[in-house]
Subunit: 279 residues, 2 copies
């Protein structure tokens, strides 16, 4: 298992933004691609997985997607690729999304939005060699507007917030072993709640670092160990860090290195060590 081998539950976010490129990288798509390629080269060795955020490439049109396809090809085969696309749509469309993400881009896992129900995302859940993280409680400030709505009791489920009901239902989605949950580090109480509801599911936790999520609270809600029921790399927990690593290239300290590769590698090593995987 990759996370055990690398000793970390770190997921490296790849969200390259023209406005945040370090000196020496032209503020063009070519410069962006060069930076993202460097990020993968020096930081991915410290990570269990990488998570490209598709919107940051889509913003450059077809040329941006072509750049992502090239960047993806540089990811070492033992590092999992999670396409952060937040897809999910009615059957025929979701089937095309599965082709786009699993076959064409070659992602090992995707993020999916549950609003259309499990039937709609089935094409993204059904492949036993792939994985889908279902959005449960997201890391944005307004996440609670819908996700926090109290839904009525139903069967064995008590009255509970919508995000908890999503977690409860997701336990039975797919053929088994292909579904995890996205819960933001910015909502530690909700994270603990959800881990209690679905202890057997793998978790992808964004929001640590630039978004202010608390590392200790994340780890307190469940250590980074393999879940009982699956061999999914990353085990019970993957913690995503994007800007806190990529941004290190633009925040050289006085007297320290100013080489982007060195800075990115140091930041990745630091964050990798924050999420040790227990043997």
């Amino acid at each position: 298992m990759r996370s055990a081998k690398v000793g970390s539950a770190l997921c490296l976010g790849i969200d390259p933004d023209l406005a945040a490129l370090p000196d020496g990288f032209p503020r063009t798509l070519a410069g962006l691609e060069r930076f993202a390629t460097l990020l993968v080269e020096v930081a991915a060795p410290f990570a269990a997985a990488v998570k490209p955020n598709l919107a940051f490439f889509e913003a450059h049109g077809s040329a941006g997607i072509a750049a992502l396809e090239r960047i993806r090809a540089t990811v070492p085969s033992e590092v999992l690729v999670i396409a952060d696309a937040k897809r999910g749509d009615i059957g025929t469309t979701a089937a095309h999304q599965a082709v786009a993400l699993f076959e064409v881009l070659g992602a090992d896992a995707v993020t999916v939005n549950p609003y259309l129900g499990s039937e709609a995302v089935e094409p993204l859940l059904e492949r036993i060699d792939r994985f889908a993280y279902v959005l449960c409680r997201t890391s944005n400030p307004g996440a609670g507007e819908l996700q926090g709505l109290e839904v009525a009791a139903e069967g064995d489920a008590p009255p509970e917030p919508l995000y908890a009901r999503v977690a409860r239902r997701a336990r039975t989605w797919g053929p088994g072993g292909t579904v995890g949950l996205v819960v933001g580090a910015t909502a530690p109480a909700e994270l603990a709640h959800v881990r209690g509801i679905a202890p057997g599911l793998a978790f992808l936790v964004p929001g640590v670092g630039a978004q202010g999520g608390d590392v200790e609270a994340v780890l307190a809600s469940g250590p980074a160990i393999a879940p009982d029921g699956g061999s999914w790399p990353g085990g019970g927990l993957l913690v995503n860090v994007s800007r806190a690593i990529a941004g290190a290239a633009t925040t050289a300290v006085p007297g320290g290195s100013r080489d982007p590769a060195t800075l990115l590698g140091e930041a990745a090593a630091h964050w990798s060590g924050r999420f040790p995987v227990l043997p």
Copy 2:
């Protein structure tokens, strides 16, 4: 207003699938692009809007997106382009989605998923010259799994299904006049319910034709007139038809024309007439 000028609330879905191309079109991306371009050429004149479904192009990778960019350039300027992308994500990502869809692709409107809350989709709602249709009650068979969950009373809102709460909240999203709702024709009772909650919002109704939605029930829930509060083309209602028009090119009747252009144009004229816009 385009829908008044064309006399119809028809939205032409563009969901080209290699497996459904008519004879004479190679089952390659080039063949798919040629077919979609022909569809726009002969069918868009009968429509108020066209709605490309991005996943059908994403399934061909960056080359597919490049094809979509070229197809989009052939849409007459008076026909609205609705990018059916079902996006929505935390702030910085949604901002990139807005660039991708509004600026790079040049869409006039998009579809967005509400699960992350209004704060997350704000970049897709805030442009007063663009428009966003928020998924409310979708047309897929399993749509009710989450959308039908009963949520508790809150303020002036009664206990109601999640889709109704989404409609209620969406009334206040954005700066005003930039938000509509997606409600499937396959759920006529829910459509009537939602139109009652949000009579001032524009509606995009998929699911007519191949998905089996009932045209009369859609029109009974609200005629295709301009909403009180906005000048959004399509007015109060746009009804999407995809496969029932595109598929006409492969379903020539004995003795009838076998020319795809003729067949597509006839089907578009037929469906255009099913959704007359009242003056």
